[in-house]
Every structure is written in C-alpha cells, then in structure tokens.
Amino acid sequence: MARMIAWRVPQIAATLAILSLAAFLAIGAMPGDPISLAMMADPRLGPADVERMRALHGLDQPLLLRWWAWATGVLRGEFGYSRLFARPAAEVLWPALRGSLVLLGTALALAAGLGIGAGMLAALRPRWRGAVDAVALLSQALPAFWLGILLIILFAVTLGWLPAGGAPDAGGVAEAARFLVLPVATLAIAHLAAYARHTAAAMAEVLRAPWITAARARGAPESRIAFRHALPNAAVPLLSILALDAGALVSGALITETVFARPGMGKLLTDAVMGNDHNLALLALLLVAGTTLLATLAADLAQRGLDPRLGREG
C-alpha cells in the first residue's frame, strides 16, 4: 500500500501540473484579459498606457514564462487575488470547497446506500431486475439539471415545502439541512442508478461462486448468505466503480450547485469563467481536479485494503 501511494501521488502531481499548463494556455486564448478590461472601463487609457501596464504586470512575457511564474507562486502558497470578489483567492476557494464537499459527501452516502440496496434486490430477487434496469436507464438518461428543475417545481413551487435554492443566511443545522435536501436528492438520484446496476452485476457474479452453493448446502439462511458471504466480495468491484465514477459525481455536483444557486465550487467556477476571473477559474479547476484524483486514490486504496490479493499482482 505504501508503494501504491509512493507511485500514485507523484502521478497526481504530474497530472495537475500538465492540466494547469493546458488550462493556462486555454485561458490565454479567452477574450478579456485584465488590461483590455481596464481599458474598457476607463476611456482615458491610451495605447501607450496599455503597453506600460502590460510590461508592468508581466503580460508582455511569453505564456510559458507566465505559467512558470504563476505555478511557482502557487507552490509557495501565493494564490493571488480574485478579480470578481476583490479578495484573496484562497479566502474565496475554501468556503466553496467546503460547501461542495458537504453536498458531495451526503449525496454519495445516500446514492451508495440506496444504489447498493436496489442492486442487491435485483440480484437476489430476479423479479425486480427488470424494474431496477428500467429505473437505471431512466436516471442515466435524465439530465441532472432537468431533474433539479423538476424537483424545484414540485417541492418548492407547487408544494412550497422546501427552498428553491440558495443558502441560508442564518439558522442552525436544521435550516442548512432544509436547503440541502433538494440538491442532495438531485445528485443522489442521478448516480444511484449506476451503483445499482453495478451492484446487481457484481452480486450476480459472486452468487454463482461455488462457496455460495456450499453455504446454501450447509443450510445458512439467505440473509446471511447475502450480507456475510456475497456482499463483502461484491464490494471490491463496487469500489472500483465508485473510483471510476468520481469524476462524473464531481461534475454532477457542480451542475447541481448551479441549478440550485448553491454556493460551492461549481457556481464559483462558472461565475469565475463568465466574469473573466482567470486566476480564480484556474485555481478552482485545479482544486476540483485534485480533489477528484485524491478521492479516486482513496477508493483504490480501500479496494486494496479489502482485497489484499490486488496488491500482490501489481
């Protein structure tokens, strides 16, 4: 396991470095650099001033040099400022990351719990299999943002039970939870289907194993076979699905946040991109990507922990 960490952590760092370079180049190709924005805001600025400001801020340097200066700065802990919020970027990023992690964690727990339950049902009771399959297809085809809007229409507009979006200004945990219900439901519904399908497949595979037949022959009750004998073995392929799905789950959280106008990385990223806040957009992208890669690593490590055989092969 230590060897896996020693191998994967530098790999993650390299991925982030390449990603930051690619994103830096892409941002260089976006309209609206800070100087042209300043020029638009102030008609008294002439071409000479623009040249002077470009040189002053190093914007006349080649992109690659600018990326190097930026990247070494970030490594030293200098994250720079957010143009949009007029505050240090780190002060804007951390609360947003916290908001996203709350949404992600709750939705993941719910989706995994319900998805695994439904998948076991489909594997153990073949009658239910068609229904689980149909629901899985439906939830994979539904765009998450449409699902969110439908939930808003039902629970916020028609019934008026829950807020349509945003975040509470005050109030304790209960008030925060009220604002969390619809976003979590949206994200969980969008992902539990994939978990259900994969659980069903993994369980069906395990249930064919000879030692399950042996347990049955010994007279072990079905519930014990399902939970003690089958599920722990099905958990290994399930964890790899969770690891593979991490990117999609994070993407889903970002769009869900936008639908519900919920403060978090998703809203921050789109706001930053739309508002020409390039530094913040870049940092947000790297933070989201880094979190996703670390989550994938965690799922892989858990998989190794559950099945020590995996470590010996690789």
């Binding site: 991925t15 390449i18 990603l19 994103a23 892409a26 941002i27 190709a29 976006m30 309209p31 299999r129 297809l137 439906l138 994979q140 085809a141 539904l142 765009p143 943002f145 449409w146 809007i149 439908l150 808003i152 229409i153 507009v157 028609t158 349509a164 069906a204 593979l244 991490a246 990117g247 999609a248 994070v250 993407s251 970002l254 769009i255 936008t258 639908v259 998703g266 990223l269 789109t270 991109v273 739309m274 957009a281 947000a284 992208l285 989201v288 990507a289 996703t292 890669l293 994938t296």
Partner: protein, 279 residues
Amino acid sequence: MGGDAWRLRTGLAILLLLALAALAAPGVAALLGVDPEVPDILARQAGPSAAHPLGTDELGRDILVRLLVGARVSLAVGIAAALASTVIGLAAGLLAAWRGGWVDAALMRLADGLLALPALPLLVLLAAMDPAALGLPRGGALSDVLRIVLILALFGWVGVARLARAAAISVLARDHVRAARALGVGEARLLRRHVVPALGAPLAVAASLAVAGAILAESTLSFLGLGIQPPASSWGNMLANAQDLVFSAPMAALWPGLAIALAVAGAMLVADGLRPRSG
C-alpha cells in the same frame, strides 16, 4: 435476459422519430406561420392553442418550433461529436494496439488522465475560449455548433480509444492476422483489411454511447450559457430560460428536458442493444 433486439429497435425508433422531427422543423414553422427566433411581445407565455400547440415562451416565441429546431442542434452536435470522437479514438486505439511499447503507454496514460478528471469544469473552461483562437469564425449558430463539437471530441475519443485498443489487440493476436503478416501482407493493408473491419461491433457500441454523452454534454453547456447562444434555440438554453421562470411558467421546463432525456435514452438503448452479451 433477452430483449436486446427490442432495445435496439426501440432506441433506433426514438432516434429516427427525433431526426424526422428535426427535419420537419422548417415545415412546421411555415405551417404555423411563426419564426422561432422572433419575439412576439403580445403573445408571451400563452397556453397551448391552434397557433401554438405547446404555447409560447417568455418572449412569445413558439415552444414547439423552438423544440424542433433544438432537435436539429442536439442531433447534429451529438452525431458530429460522436463521429469525430470515433475517428480520433479509432486512430489512437489502433496506433496504441499496433505499435505497443511507449506509444501505447503514453496514449493510455493520457486516456486515463482524461477519464479520471471531472469533465464538466474542463468543458466549461474550454467552452469559454475565444472561438477565433481555435481557428473558428466568431458568432452565429454554426460557429457555436463547431466549437462544441470540437470540445466534446477532445474528451469523447477516450472511451472509443480504449474499446478499439482492447479489440484490436485481441484481433492482432488471432491466427489469420498472424498468418497474413507471415505471408508478407503490408502493415497498412493488414490494419485496413483485417483489423478495422473486425472492430465494427465494439466501435458501434462506443459511437452510440458517444452520441448519448455528446447530447447530454451539449445540453449541459448550453444550460450554463456556454453552448449554443440565444436567440438560436437548443434544448439546453431553453431549459435555462425556463428555470428563470419556474415560478410563473413551470410547464415550460417540461418539454426541453423530456426531449433531452428521450434522445439520450434512445442512443443508450441502441448501445445496449448492440452490445454482445456474455452472461
């Protein structure tokens, strides 16, 4: 478990229906005598009527015709992006399987890296780029479509490449291919005549999945305001408008979402139906 032919047929029927609807858009617009991009302030948010079978939106534009025009955008983006992804993915997968060694390792690490990253923030960033920097004309619906197709193909090739590589490796190891090589058949001819035709089935599955992914991604980007720009209509930007009016006209959000779900489900059913069953 059976029912595969049923899935394929249902999926194809759904896509065909949507394609017909997309083709019928100008005809329906002419029949109703409406222009989907011109506002009609006096007929805002009207209910269904003979002149507007699904009613009108917040600017008095006919919802049915906008939906049909949106179908053109969604299907065009879906098919074009899937085609581009398939071509790039096939080339990358073949190259990786055929050359092996460091070429294989480099391509697959790149694919792994792209798969592990969350796609949406990257798409958002790329979609905000100046189209002129990508060598595309600025402004207009066609420029938007090309831009989205290009961006989606940049990510879509990965799934195709992995499937193509796995299939190509197994084909390259088969006896008839090794025999052909031993007989002195050139490498290019070997790949063209013996390997690529054998990849048809997995490629068809990957391409249908790419269509589903591209339609979903386009609608997401348009929903965020980074895809197809108004006044041109797409299902995604219609939903974005509808969300702003969710308290006054909740029904407006129904149709575009239903259309997206239908198109994506259709493409996924086709992929499911084409997939060879092992168990």
